[in-house]
Amino acid sequence: MTTAIINVSLKAGVLDSQGKAVHHALDSLHFEGVSDVRVGKQIVIKLDTDDKTVAMSEVEKMCEEILANTVIEDYKIELI
């Protein structure tokens, strides 16, 4: 079995309003030295296969088709 951890976030250059709001909140809590905050989502998928190459190509297809909207979002896949 393979577990895929997918992180989806807005592309660089696309304004992340939620990230900005969290950044402001951190500032107001006096956390110093925060230069940027991005908010995204994590999707965890369990696959039957043990073959990481197969798993990666499947999960990439999932990301392109539905899990991310590539007009505005990037995704990163980690397999464990």
């Binding site: 304004l15 309003s17 709001a21 539905i66 007009v71 505005i72």
Partner: protein
């Protein structure tokens, strides 16, 4: 004139849309998203507003794969007229039938109020009853209405007169409630048969309820 209205789990504007088009003299039919074909006499297909699939994953993301969407894509690609309102606009961008995407509003709040819009391009069936520069008063009600398109896409929209409406003040000057690129509230595809907008013209059909400016917008479809 036959208007077919799509209903997904979570759609909530199908009956307002039905009321609006019947008021204008059209016959209407609401069809469930499991349908695999559209009524053959359909002259206009409306993807109504609401929260299809509870906006899970992204607004419109899951609805784009409902069984009926294959028929919708085929209908649109054959030149059939399609109108997406609010969540319907989100579904059509997710399905790739309209360019761009809808992000969370910049202010992060759900916005529900009347807003004035400026007509940018009326050389299409949707807005042909209005003049460029006209200002209409139409309700908006959305959380993810922040229209995004990259710079190349934006240039293409302008080159083909695909920007339909922008958020404005009562004088037609830019007033942007949600952070949309260039204050864009609605666009169409290159062939000008697929239309999408975040505001709700179907909720602006009776002056006693605040505005009947939606009549002039939706009438365009009946004239063509």
């Amino acid at each position: 004139m036959k208007v077919t209205i799509l209903q997904f789990p979570g759609t909530n504007c199908e009956y307002d849309t039905q009321h609006a088009f019947e008021k204008l003299g059209a016959t209407t039919e609401i069809i469930w998203h499991k349908a695999e074909s559209l009524p053959s006499d359909t002259n206009l297909l409306v993807v109504a507003g609401g929260f299809s699939y509870g906006d899970y994953l992204r607004s419109g993301a899951i609805a784009q794969f409902s069984p009926v969407m294959k028929a919708v894509t085929e209908y649109a690609n054959n030149g059939g007229k399609v109108l997406g309102i609010c969540n319907g606009f989100q579904v059509l961008t997710e399905a790739g039938l309209l360019p761009g995407a809808l992000k969370r509003n910049d202010g992060l709040h759900f916005i529900s109020k009347h807003h004035t819009l400026k007509v940018e391009n009326n050389d299409n069936v949707f807005l042909e009853k209005l003049n460029n520069g006209d200002v209409v008063n139409i309700p908006i009600a959305h959380h993810d209405g922040n229209y995004f398109i990259d710079q190349d896409g934006l240039k293409e929209l302008y080159a083909n007169n695909q920007v339909l409406l922008t958020y404005s003040d009562a004088n037609g000057d830019v007033k942007n409630p949600n952070g949309s690129v260039d204050s864009i509230a609605g666009v169409c595809n290159k062939n000008k048969n697929v239309f999408g907008l975040m505001p709700h013209p179907e909720r602006a059909m009776e002056s006693i309820l605040g505005s009947d400016d939606g009549v002039k917008m939706l009438e365009g479809f009946l004239a063509s």
